[in-house]
């Protein structure tokens, strides 16, 4: 038992910074990220011997973080769900692209955001993402497509006043 506890402590110390970064990318909020990581590590610690025997404790924690994120989103979606991404800023105080993109990422549903994080931050293939999220590769593709489309629409410059093309010939 002592050896297990020592191994778990060592795992936490070694992997905590990376897990926090991962949760931060998923949530966009450092406090929520810290909560999710704490919760996931506590759940992992409860059955550490079995999880360690299975050989991929970090994968387990990351899945726990992802599931925790989706679960919290479901619980609080009434407060945070929006039909559309926020209107783009049209007057002064135009935010930098990074700030704007970071805020727009926060408006995506968690699975769409997770797909982008796993693709652009973790550099995983569609098959690997599908494996982690427990869905089909086609679902990963469509979620990615929807997420990117939302970001593109929100980031694209305002449409000109004559937004429609000339009448058909």
């Amino acid at each position: 038992v002592d050896a297990d506890a020592a191994a778990f402590d060592a795992f936490v110390r070694a992997r905590l910074p990376a897990l926090l970064r991962f949760a931060h990318a998923l949530t966009g909020d450092p406090h929520t990220a810290a909560d999710l990581v704490q919760d996931a590590l506590e759940r992992t610690g409860m059955r550490w011997d079995r999880i360690e025997r299975q050989g991929d404790p970090e994968g387990y924690v990351r899945r726990a973080i992802l599931n925790g994120r989706v679960s919290r989103w479901r619980k609080h979606r009434r407060e945070t769900l929006v039909d559309c991404v926020p209107e783009r800023v049209t007057s002064y105080e135009v935010p930098g692209r990074d700030d704007q993109l970071w805020q727009l990422l926060a408006t995506l549903p968690p699975r769409q955001r997770a797909v982008l994080v796993l693709r652009y931050y973790e550099d995983l293939s569609e098959a690997q993402i599908a494996d982690i999220l427990g869905c089909a590769p086609g679902t990963v593709k469509s979620q990615s497509s929807k997420a990117l489309a939302k970001l593109r629409v929100a980031l694209s410059p305002p449409a000109p006043t004559t937004e429609e093309a000339p009448c058909p010939t």
Binding site: A5, F8, D9, V12, R13, L16, P17, L20, R21, F22, H24, A25, P30, A33, A34, Q38, L41, E42, R43, G45, M46, R74, R78, R97, D98, L101, W102, L105, L116, V117, Y120, Y121, E126, G138, V140, K141, S142, S144, S145, K146, A147, L148, A149, L151, R152, V153, L155, S156, A159, E163, E164, A165, C167, P168, T169
Partner: protein, 372 residues
């Protein structure tokens, strides 16, 4: 949006995502694990005690109940806290919500749309995983409805000096479009698809393999056609979906259980360990509220900092299957408070886990269990 891929890679880096870690983080996690183990032990022992208690209560009250015509006397939790339905320590069921009702399908009575009845909107791209969907919006500017259905007779990407790339039918995600009558002023659509990352053997040779096409020519099923400017990379081919009309989204009926009103009654003090309280669910509506889809609930005890308890259980729906109009049912609740909790004033928040959560909270003073 010149390069969203690059912007995302630049944004999601170790440097940007770095968060400081506390030097005693491992100890905090270890304490959390220990607290969870203790809480689980309490819940297990509480459930066992409740089972034994229920057996004893049944043995003593059943004969009297049968003699009294089947009326079960409410059992006191505390001298002043009585309930109708006892607590059960079972995990919450999978969340249920009413099924969305799809809109009626569009009618198909009007004549086919002609090109001069439609105003063509800008092509909107939707890029993901190498596949690019381009949606063309079509508004009926005539004064009569017209039918927008089926696959266009011909769709072709065009560019000066390059041969036309004629689209084949069917999209990657098989989104054929929902066709129907398009009323005046309403919007329809056509989706075409290109692939940025096709294998070299599938790419067209020469300049066209990377060439960008500048316009799209569409011939409608009615035989009339229109052109629109569109930047398309059709080097890997062009696919077209069906013509469709915008249909309203499905409507989701309100979950009747969300109309319930919860009132939490706690004893003045709760002793760490296992404590009881009562939740009254009232139905203020004129219709019975069914509990056939039995909801779960969340009980959360906190004092502004870390929560001492955050547990979920199923409501005991075995005795009351529906709450009649303008009536109430009192449910016994139990909560496993860690024995090492800091004594003080806490907020007990109780939420029925339904579509629109029914939430109520009460203040309670938690005192030490007296054993460590």
């Amino acid at each position: 949006v010149p390069d969203l891929d690059r912007a995302l890679r630049d944004l999601l880096t170790d440097e940007h995502l770095h968060l400081p870690t506390r030097p005693d983080a491992a100890r905090i996690v270890r304490d959390g694990v220990r607290r969870r183990r203790r809480r689980r032990a309490i819940v297990v022992s509480t459930a066992a005690a409740a089972t034994v208690g229920a057996v004893i209560a049944a043995a003593t009250t059943l004969p009297a109940a049968l003699n009294a015509g089947g009326h079960h006397p409410a059992t006191p939790v505390q001298p002043t806290l009585r309930y109708d339905v006892s607590w059960v320590g079972i995990a919450p069921p999978t969340a249920w919500s009413p099924k969305p009702v799809p809109p009626p399908p569009p009618t198909l009575d009007a004549p086919r749309c002609l090109a001069d009845q439609l105003k063509v909107g800008p092509a909107v791209e939707n890029d993901g995983g190498g596949v690019i969907f381009t949606t063309i919006r079509l508004r009926n500017i005539s004064s009569h409805p017209c039918q927008l259905v089926g696959t266009p007779a011909r769709v072709a990407a065009q560019a000066p000096g390059l041969p036309d790339v004629v689209a084949t039918r069917g999209l990657h995600l098989d989104s054929g479009g929902v066709g129907g009558d398009l009323p005046p002023g309403h919007l329809g659509y056509l989706t075409v698809e290109t692939d940025r990352d096709c294998s070299p053997s599938n790419a067209r040779g020469g300049a066209s393999s990377t060439g960008t096409y500048t316009s799209l020519s569409v011939t409608l099923p009615s035989g009339s056609s229109f052109n629109l400017p569109a930047k398309l990379n059709a080097g890997c081919g062009l696919l077209t979906g069906g013509l469709g009309v915008d249909v309203p989204p499905p409507t989701t009926p309100t979950d009747a259980r969300s109309h319930l009103i919860a009132i939490v009654e706690t004893p003045r003090t709760m002793r760490a360990g296992s404590a009881s309280y009562v939740v009254t669910l009232s139905n203020p509506t004129d219709a019975a509220i069914s509990l056939r889809h039995c909801p779960g609930y969340l009980e959360d005890l906190s004092n502004g900092g870390l929560g001492a308890v955050d547990d979920r259980y199923a409501l005991n729906c075995s005795q009351v299957h529906a709450i009649a109009p303008h009536t109430s049912v009192r449910y016994q609740m139990r909560i496993g408070i860690p024995v090492d909790v800091t004594p003080g004033t806490y907020t007990l928040r109780w939420s029925l886990l339904v579509g629109h959560p029914v939430t109520m909270s009460d203040q309670v003073t938690v005192v030490s269990s007296g054993r460590r």
